[in-house]
Amino acid sequence: MQEISLNILDIAQNSIRANATLIEITVEENPESDLFAFTIKDNGCGMDEEMVKRVSDPFVTTRTTRKVGLGISLLKVAAQQTGGDITISSTLGVGTTIRADFSYNHIDRQPLGDISAVMVSLISMNPDIDFVYTHKYCKEEFQLDTRELRAILGEEVKLSEISVASWIGEFINSNLAIYGGAK
């Protein structure tokens, strides 16, 4: 993966596969305290303790098409090469939270990349799932909650409508640009 946002897109697929109805994605940037982190929290099916221990092994996957699952392994390497790491906590029937910590200033820390395109992909391709995207940059905070968008759009207009998806992308971009975050 060339951007951290692509890892976010990839790891969020696990939440979708876990039948989550709400996925909360938070990105935190704080150059002063050398912090760059993201968290993906879902209310999907969760995993038992044994599985949580094994998921970062590339040869562990629940799918049956092949025997490898690289998503979490790739993220783990990306975090560890900056001196960070990932933490996963999960409860069966409750959901899973995965957090990745990076050193903000480390030369090997990949850029966040096009996070608005990632959120547009997630939201428009999974119009029945709710997403909350929170972006914190030092003390600034931006949040997009699809439940608010749904309240305005009503039942007939779906989040997968092309014009709605385009607007979401512009909305995230214009808000993130204010404080120079998302680098």
Partner: protein
């Protein structure tokens, strides 16, 4: 800066076109592979390009969906186009640059772009 209030106007526009659409048959489905292999190979810019192209041309009968890994990771990004009443067409090694031609030739004019399909792979 954009505000959430703008959504009201978009809603109105969409609702008008939804009413028109009801009289037409079912729309075109564009399905993008979004597993680790697809994402790493560049599925996101491809998906974004379809969205932009469809928005630009005001194609309200197109839906863009995602799928997992279909087992041809080396050919990712893979996009399947389903036109109602026609056979599925599978495009491989997709790039954002290839999208405009697929939208204009295949989705708008009904002629699949053979050279981008999995069948044209050697």
């Amino acid at each position: 800066m954009k505000s959430i209030a703008e959504l009201e106007a978009i809603k109105k526009k969409v609702l008008d076109s939804v009413n028109l659409r009801k009289e037409r048959e079912e729309g075109v489905r564009v399905v993008v592979g979004m597993a680790t292999c697809g994402i790493a190979a560049g599925a996101r810019p491809v998906m974004t390009a379809f969205l932009e192209e469809a928005n630009k041309r005001n194609l309200s009968n197109v839906v863009i969906e995602q799928t997992g890994c279909i087992g041809m990771c080396a050919l990712e990004p893979i996009v399947e186009v389903y036109v109602p009443g026609k056979e599925k067409v599978t495009y491989v090694k997709m790039t954002a640059e290839k999208v405009a031609k697929i939208v204009s030739d295949h989705i708008v004019n009904g002629a699949p772009v053979i050279e981008y399909t999995v069948g044209a792979q050697k």
